[in-house]
């Protein structure tokens, strides 16, 4: 019995203690269809909307929507080494600081934040014109999120606000 207990406790300690080292300069791993968004707990299914960040402690937070990453960041204030987003056109990872963002209520993203990212400003401008969106930098999006201005309003007849 005590042997069994020792094995279990050892495994528990190993499970708690083992943490793979993360390279902040490399895009993090997301297992699509398996990993859950750290903000909303839903499964992350679509790469082009998915986002992530790496903390100074080497932990990775994963999100199904760029807006959820911004909300989580604003709420938790972790020390972040690098924010990552996907190019909406190519679904390739790119550092958020180097991306151009289109923000429009007409964009149907997984959690309805309406934010997508591009590495190339030209397709971003074309999309923004098509959906009457704003072109924003990541710094501006973070500023809005921190100020509580990045929010999803309820529908025409509703009153619920998601901050």
């Amino acid at each position: 019995m005590w042997n069994a207990m020792a094995v279990v406790l050892l495994l528990a300690l190993l499970g708690a203690g083992c943490r793979s080292s993360v390279d902040p300069d490399a895009p993090p791993d997301i297992r699509y269809g398996e990993d859950a968004c750290d903000q909303c707990r839903m499964l992350i299914s679509e790469p082009r909307y998915a986002a992530a960040y790496v903390t100074r402690q080497g932990e990775v937070r994963r999100f199904d929507d760029i807006g959820d990453m911004l909300l989580y960041d604003a709420a938790h204030g972790e020390e972040v080494l690098r924010f990552w987003v996907h190019d909406y056109a190519t679904a390739a990872w790119l550092p958020a600081a180097q991306a151009v963002f289109v923000y429009s209520r007409a964009l149907s993203t997984p959690m309805a934040h309406g934010i997508v990212a591009f590495g190339d400003p030209q397709p971003a401008r074309e999309l923004a014109a098509r959906v009457q969106g704003e072109i924003l930098s990541f710094a501006e999006l973070r500023r809005r999120a921190a100020a509580g201005h990045l929010k999803v309003e309820h529908g025409p007849a509703g009153s619920h606000t998601h901050r």
Partner: protein
């Protein structure tokens, strides 16, 4: 001139504003008069009906007038793999009876089978196949989606569209639809939705609500999805009488609640999900609550999982049945500020001395292993293992390492409450008994060769070898607080024996049986086939089949579904021959709720025998049966005994004991007062009953003499005559008196021998 102008105006009004009775029906068929729906639409006016007869018509179709489009003989509208197949853009359109297929596959353009962009549209009884999005409502308040069958495109889940999407559309009714292999059913930004009687299977999110206040979700079946329903950012949502089962994706929530205020979840069945209900930041506002009441959480890996920060969740009158872990604190920690009261907990080890249906001791969820599991989910691998049991044993033995209770229910229910009238579970797809009952035996060999389910069937547990007893009990003692329910009971049962636990109510029979199953804490020693049910519970229980006194089946499941469910849990395959023998083969499709008491008891026996255990425990198995059903059931049990099963059964009916038992263990107030063959017990006072005969006063002496002449020692007690009678002989004194011409106006039977006492 002026008069002519007047007439022109009147005529114009008559043409433009026709009365409803003037509405026309335009017929579309390959033979004409209109050969395409678009041609009929061009000629139609608001209020007209367009009847489209069987045939295949090319899409896309845009309906921009208030018309009724009705399909006859399932006309097909084929989008040819491009764009959206049908767009409904005028208020009040009715669109029904079509097969819609072949939308484009662009998620960006949201290619759909039917797109509705106007209020008060009815989309009913259509069949959609090979469409990316199924039915898509945008700004379509007051619309109805009813009775449609929607099969998604054969694509990987992330590339599928939503089977139903409702977007900024208040007051929509979604009723009686069947959805298979979609991505999600998405309901966003819409108030006062009604979602009833739908079946949603094999998708990602059965339902996904966001920003939808005042919705009612009733009587739906959400099964086999990654998540049954994810409910977010909404208020006053009511989730009633739904069956939410087998949702086992990576997160596998039956229902997930995120930032929900004043939600009410009542009378739902959460069955076999990874997590029955997951609660995150709900309720969100300090003035709101979440109420879980009258639900059943059964056979989930985790019944309810809550983040430690949640407060103001009220759990009342729910039944937590055999979940791997009833309640989990996600990430570990303590739950505070939630209320648990009046719930049934299948691992409750207390008692109900006053018989009011509520346990006299609180239920405490305080297993040390679960506490570790909440902190380190990777330990789930060890759930139910000897190591996990060792940890819990250590916590009981050394209270210093005992965790704080996760929750305390001060008034636990003693019996579960199962909601009635729930949606039935889907028919199993790989169920070996899907063949007709009559073909069962003949198909058995083929099924054994070809069935792929269940993947691994453990071999039946073997009886102990040599001279080892099947069951050994030494100095068994159970205390409930200051009450000693079982005191120093010792006995052995050998393989193949049939042993009765006999005694009046409260003698300790059920308590002994629950100890044999490892369900109660006890002092002393119990060995089942040499295994300790406390430390080797899983291995010990493989040797045991148990038929409880109170049956807890789900009335809406069929017999077949019930057996499938338990077979899956026991990793067993039902024995077709056994079902035939138990008389169940013919009623496999029947709902359990429609079975008689006797047939339900047979079903319980079949469930107990699923893994072919050598030892069968039966707790008052005939207590709720009428005389005929009792006899039938006893015959079945006798046949099992003859086949070599070891039987231990509790009973307070002497005739059962005489008919079945090789030995009788007589319990009285928790003590074993006799261990003997049934025949040897006839003289035991507790074994006998007293027949109290109420006779005319002037015939008392004559009656006493008559009975004495036949060997009965009767004595007077006021205006009645008492005589001790053994079981099987209770009517004979009355018959003797009647033969002697002495009337017997009334009588009573009382336990025990009053004279001896």
């Amino acid at each position: 001139m002026r008069r002519a102008r007047c007439w022109a105006v009147v005529l114009g009004l008559l043409v433009g504003l026709r009365a409803p009775g003037w509405a026309r029906t335009l017929v579309v068929s390959p033979q004409g008069p209109f050969t395409t729906p678009a041609a009929a639409l061009a000629a139609a006016q608001a209020g007209d009906t367009i009847e489209v007869q069987g045939g295949t018509y090319a899409g896309p179709l845009v309906v921009d007038k208030r018309v009724r489009l009705v399909g006859r003989d399932w006309p097909v509208l084929d989008g040819g793999g491009r764009g959206t197949v049908v767009k409904l853009t005028a208020a009040g359109i009715v669109f029904s009876g079509f097969v819609i297929r072949g939308s484009g596959a662009s998620l960006d353009q949201e290619n759909s089978g039917i797109a509705v962009e106007a209020p008060d549209v009815v989309v009913a009884h259509n069949r959609l196949a090979d469409t990316l999005f199924g039915i898509y409502l945008r700004q379509a308040p007051g619309s109805v989606i009813r009775g449609n069958v929607i099969d998604g495109k054969a694509l990987p889940v992330p590339r599928r569209g939503d089977a139903i999407r409702v977007w900024y559309s208040n007051g929509v009714h979604i009723t009686g639809n069947t959805v298979r292999r979609g991505r999600d059913v998405v309901l966003w930004y819409s108030t006062a939705l009604s979602v009833r009687d739908n079946v949603v299977q094999d998708g990602r999110y059965g339902l996904h609500f966001m920003y939808c206040d005042d919705a009612r979700i009733e009587h739906n079946l959400l099964s086999g999805n990654s998540v049954g329903a994810f409910l977010m950012y909404s208020r006053r949502l009511h989730l009633h009488r739904n069956t939410i089962a087998h949702n086992r994706g990576p997160s596998g929530y039956g229902v997930g609640l995120k930032d929900m205020d004043d939600a009410v979840l009542a009378a739902n069945l959460f069955l076999d999900n990874r997590v029955g209900a997951f609660v995150d930041n709900s309720p969100r506002e300090v003035t709101s609550t979440t109420r879980f009441q009258d639900n059943v959480f059964a056979f989930n890996d985790t019944g309810v999982s809550l983040l430690p920060s949640v407060r103001r969740n009220f759990f009342s009158n729910n039944s937590f049945i055999d979940n791997g872990e009833h309640v989990q604190v996600a990430g570990g920690g303590q739950l505070r500020g939630n209320v648990w009261r009046g719930n049934f907990w299948s691992d409750y080890a207390g008692f109900d001395a006053d018989g009011d249906g509520t346990g006299d001791l609180p239920y405490r969820a305080e297993r040390l292993f679960e506490d570790l599991l909440d902190r380190y989910p990777s330990l789930r691998l060890f759930l139910g293992s000897p190591a996990a049991q060792a940890i819990d044993f250590a916590a009981r033995a050394f209270p210093l390492v005992r965790p704080q209770p996760k929750l305390v229910d001060p008034a636990p229910r003693m019996a579960p409450a199962l909601p009635q009238g729930l949606p039935a579970l889907p028919r199993p797809r790989r169920w070996p008994l899907a063949l007709s009952a009559t073909g069962l035996l003949a198909a058995g060999a083929l099924l054994a060769l070809f069935t792929r389910w269940p993947p691994r069937v453990p071999a039946p547990a073997a009886p102990p070898s040599g001279s080892d007893p099947m069951l050994a009990v030494k100095a068994l003692t159970v205390r409930y607080g200051s009450l000693r329910a079982v005191a120093q009971v010792s006995f052995e049962v050998r393989a193949g024996e049939a042993v009765a636990l006999w005694g009046p109510n409260g003698a300790g029979k059920t308590t002994v049986l629950r100890c044999l199953l490892g369900l109660l804490p006890y002092q002393g020693e119990v060995r089942v086939a040499g295994l300790d049910p406390r430390r080797q519970g899983k291995a010990a229980r493989r040797h045991v089949g148990f038929v409880p006194q109170e049956l807890h089946f789900h009335d809406d499941l069929s017999v077949q579904e019930t057996l499938q469910l338990y077979a899956r849990l026991k990793k067993a395959v039902p024995d077709a021959a056994l079902l035939q023998r138990l008389g169940l083969a013919a009623c496999l499709p029947q709902r359990v709720g429609e079975l008689s008491g006797g047939m339900k008891q047979r079903l319980a026996l079949a469930v107990a025998l699923l893994a072919d255990p050598p030892l069968l425990l039966l707790d008052e198995p005939t207590a709720n049966l009428d005389a005929a059903a009792r006899q039938d059931f006893l015959r079945l049990v006798a046949a099992l005994r003859a086949s070599g099963k070891t039987l231990i059964f509790s009973s307070h009916r002497q005739e059962e004991v005489l008919a079945l038992a090789d030995r009788v263990l007589v319990l009285d107030k928790g003590r074993l007062v006799a261990d003997a063959a049934p025949a040897a017990l006839r003289q035991l006072p507790a074994w006998q009953v007293t027949l109290r005969l109420h006779l005319p006063g002037d015939r008392l002496e004559a009656a006493r003499a008559t009975l004495a002449a036949h060997g009965y020692a009767a004595h007077r007690n006021g205006r009645s005559l008492c005589v001790a009678v053994p079981p099987g002989d209770r009517g004979r004194p009355i018959a003797l008196l009647l033969e002697a011409g002495i009337p017997v106006p009334d009588f009573d039977l009382e336990p025990g021998n009053h004279e001896e006492a």
